[in-house]
């Protein structure tokens, strides 16, 4: 694995981190905060970096974790005010509101899941990665990925039932 510079790291992975955080949180402002947190933490420990880190895997994990923690912290305070950009084209205001609320609740529910389940769910359903890729990123088997995804989906569907079915 080739050793890269910190600037290269940011150049290569900044978009991925920002995009993943934004998808989880549904809010680019908060996603930027997560982005800042993840890369700043890396920089603080950069002197220990010896070139062996799989940044793709690490950053996925760190971003998901950080974003979920962010969502959790926001549980009692203000949360998403901004509507997800994916909904910008949705014309029905009620629908927009419902989906925005659902995304908030999804983020909160993700925060309640066991870490690995939440990671798998985000990487699979929100990032759209294949099981094989997820298994590689998280260092587990595809079967485990499927099991985590299964559990996460069932639990999320149960917890979000009030928002999923009108």
């Amino acid at each position: 694995m080739q050793k890269i510079s910190y600037n290269e790291l940011i150049e290569n992975y900044s978009n991925v981190v920002l995009r993943t955080a934004a998808r989880i949180l549904g809010n680019t402002q908060q996603a930027q905060d997560v982005h800042q947190e993840v890369f700043l933490e890396i920089w603080r420990r950069w002197h220990k970096y010896n070139g062996r880190t799989n940044w793709n895997a690490y950053l996925y994990r760190a971003t998901v974790r950080s974003a979920i923690r962010f969502a959790k912290k926001s549980r009692t305070g203000q949360f998403i005010q901004q509507q997800p950009e994916a909904l910008a084209n949705t014309s029905n205001p009620d629908e927009r509101l419902r989906v925005a609320e659902l995304q908030q609740k999804l983020a909160l529910s993700l925060a309640k899941l066991p870490k690995r389940q939440a990671q798998v769910f985000v990487l699979s359903r929100i990032e759209g990665l294949e099981h094989e890729k997820i298994a590689g990123l998280l260092g587990c088997s595809q079967k485990t990925v499927r099991v985590h995804l299964h559990r996460a989906a069932k639990r999320l569907a149960r917890e979000l039932s009030d928002y999923l079915i009108e």
């Binding site: 993840v38 700043l40 923690r69 912290k73 309640k112 998280l138 088997s141």
Partner: protein, 650 residues
């Protein structure tokens, strides 16, 4: 499993379109007649549809660019700040850190040991994997005058594990008991560092024990070298490198020993503190280390004054590679003390977990009725295992009424009696399976387990907990600054005072223990903190949720009757946890890290021995642990930093 349950388990895959045709049509058929599954399908479909929406979202280039610039600006600012302050502040901080912390002072020894051992290693050209040993020694030194126990558990689930995912883990834990010179009594402090290598070993079609263990070992070494553990590193070991204060002699071979069936070579090293360090610590300190070379390699260590050993104990399973019997080292005037087998059996400190391997050999080879006594300084525990032929039968356990006698006030939980049971479960898949547990007033308070092949016996003594400061209110307790990694949804509430524990502060903790039967299990634990003691005293009440209530609602009902944890009842299907596996519940302890953080921990351990081709194969063993999350008081990302960046010794 009835049809509904079977189909219900397939709903997610069905929604994702991942089911084979046969199962798809079975699901469709079932959906027509089952309203419950139909509505669940609708929810799942809606959820996945929503995630599709999210996936389409993106972030515009301008935002990306501004985020990049923002982080670069912040980094630049931090860099400037550090450059201006580094030289003024660092020496002071380092010195203050060293002088204020007894732990770090003792850590000095680690540095010397490390240096000497490394140099020594260079000169002897031996192939001993000293780094492994030294890392543990370094850890141990910081608790000189303590008992310090390190343990390694390697485990993996088998292919067929009741639907649970296959995974494997390596867990290293450490506990120490510190003798506080100011108070003249021992207090328990501890820390557990867990390393997980999850899901590394898949497709265990052949559960060949040797192959299995080799793979795990190799994987472990590789992980150590490459630093790819998802390490939960609880200390910054980098400070050990530049500290000094101890003198260490090199070691020597002090003899051979037959232990059980094995020939062991005993090496000894001696470590003494410098005069300054003695002055600072006010305690004469000596470290001895035996490395026993055998099939089951262990390191034996002893602490104490030069004249008297204070503690002796085994550090277990070091996997030290010693090249040959001709390996020699030198020691000037060593304080050599070989422990006799009898002495080894007397563990003269209240160890939390002790590996008593010798008991196995004795029990297996010599004695039809084996008795072993484990003592602490004032009280004693008598522990007896009896067996008839090849079968184990019920044993007995006695504990003096220490509390009544008032001779060991540190043991805050007084036990009048225990009962325990060793079960031999026969059956196709349960051959050679052994399980045991101890209960006290229906609560699991003490546990040990026997592996199926009885290679070792773990004895867990009752826990007691201590806090160095007087605690008047709950706010004064330094609560754990550690993330609840496995169970984000722990809920902690205070309880009103109880007649049962007058004056104690009750803390009620609900948490999700982890996945069982494809679903998490709600667990309720109640802690009682006694503020009148100068140490933190915790009593555990451990409850698990009944299945019937569980299915209605995940959260605990406000007035839900508390069901005491009952080992017999666990076989009752009313319990969510009623599995037929052998299982032991270890209620461990609060632990305090060197940084002073306390965290109550609990582990559920399941062990199971399968008979594979005539051999006992230890197969499924799951450990679930939790840390109580007090509103995210720590940045949990700290724990997942690749360990390559923080391992003390390469």
């Amino acid at each position: 499993m009835n049809e509904h349950k079977k189909i219900n388990e397939l709903l997610v895959e069905y929604t994702l379109g991942e089911l084979p045709k046969e199962q798809t049509s079975a699901v469709q058929e079932h959906l027509e007649k089952c309203s419950e599954c139909s509505s669940e399908i609708k929810r799942l479909e809606a959820l996945l549809e929503h995630t599709e929406h999210i996936r389409k979202s993106s972030v515009d280039n301008q935002t990306c660019e501004s985020a990049k610039q923002a982080i670069l600006r912040t980094v630049e600012q931090e860099q400037t700040k550090q450059q201006t302050s580094r030289f003024d502040i660092y020496p002071e901080i380092i010195w203050r850190t060293i002088m204020n912390s007894r732990t770090i002072k003792f850590a000095a020894a680690a540095a010397i040991i490390i240096l000497v051992f490394i140099v020594f290693h260079q000169f002897t050209s031996s192939s001993i994997v000293w780094a492994d040993v030294l890392e543990k020694l370094g850890n141990d030194i910081k608790s000189t005058n303590n008992i310090h126990i390190l343990f390694t558990i390697r485990m993996a689930t088998p292919q067929h594990n009741h639907g649970e995912p296959i995974d494997s883990r390596i867990i290293k834990g450490e506990y120490w008991i510190q003798r506080n010179p100011l108070r003249g009594k021992a207090v328990l402090e501890g820390e557990q560092t867990n390393y997980f290598t999850e899901d590394k070993f898949v497709g265990l079609d052949h559960q060949d024990k040797q192959w299995f263990e080799t793979i795990i070992k190799k994987e472990s070494e590789r992980q150590t070298l490459l630093g790819q553990f998802d390490a939960l590193v609880t200390g910054d070991f980098s400070s050990y490198y530049n500290l000094a204060g101890f003198k260490i002699s090199t070691g020597q071979v002090v003899g051979n020993e037959i232990i059980g069936d094995e020939k062991a070579t005993i090496y000894q090293f001696t470590c003494t503190p410098s005069e300054d360090m003695k002055k600072e610590s006010k305690l004469p300190i000596q470290l001895k280390c035996w490395i026993r070379n055998s099939d089951h390699k262990t390191v034996r260590m002893a602490h104490g004054s030069p004249d008297k050993l204070v503690t002796t104990y085994d550090l277990i399973e070091y996997d030290v590679k010693i090249p040959s019997d001709t390996f020699t080292v030198q020691i000037p005037e060593g304080y050599i003390k070989m422990l006799t087998p009898e002495e080894r059996m007397k563990i003269n400190v209240p160890a939390n977990i002790i590996l008593l391997k010798e008991a196995y050999y004795k029990a297996r080879k010599d004695l039809p009725d084996y008795r072993m006594i484990v003592t602490n300084e004032e009280g004693y525990v008598k522990y007896q295992i009896a067996r008839q032929g090849k079968k184990w039968r019920r044993d007995s356990f006695q504990w003096p009424v220490l509390k009544k006698k008032g001779i060991h006030p540190d043991i805050s939980i007084g036990f009048d009696s225990f009962w325990t049971q060793i079960k031999k479960i026969s059956g196709k898949d349960g051959e050679n399976r052994e399980s045991t547990y101890m209960t006290y007033e229906d609560k699991a308070v003490l546990g040990y387990w026997l592996k199926g092949d009885l290679e070792s016996i773990y004895l867990k003594l009752p826990n007691y907990y201590a806090l160095s400061n007087t605690v008047d209110t709950l706010e004064q307790v330094i609560w754990p600054e550690i993330g609840n990694l496995d169970s984000p949804d722990s809920f902690v509430t205070l309880l009103p005072s109880s007649e049962k524990y007058p004056g104690c502060i009750g803390i009620r903790v609900e948490y999700i223990a982890g996945a069982r039967r494809n679903d998490p299990v709600a667990v309720l634990v109640i802690y009682w903190v006694d503020p009148s003691k100068d140490y933190m005293c915790i009593r555990f009440e451990h409850h698990q949720r009944r299945k019937a209530l569980w299915e209605k609602n995940m959260a605990w009902e406000p007035n839900e009757p508390i069901v005491p944890f009952d080992m017999e009842q666990r076989y009752n299907d009313d319990y969510i946890d009623g599995r037929q596996n052998s299982r032991i519940v270890e209620i461990t302890d609060t632990a305090q890290s060197p940084q002073g953080y306390w965290y109550p921990t609990e582990r559920l351990i399941e062990s199971n021995i399968l008979n594979y081709k005539g051999e006992s194969v230890e197969s499924p063993r799951r450990i679930e642990k939790f840390y109580i999350d007090f509103e995210g008081s720590i940045d949990s990302s700290w724990f997942e930093w690749p360990s390559e960046l923080s391992l003390p010794i390469k």
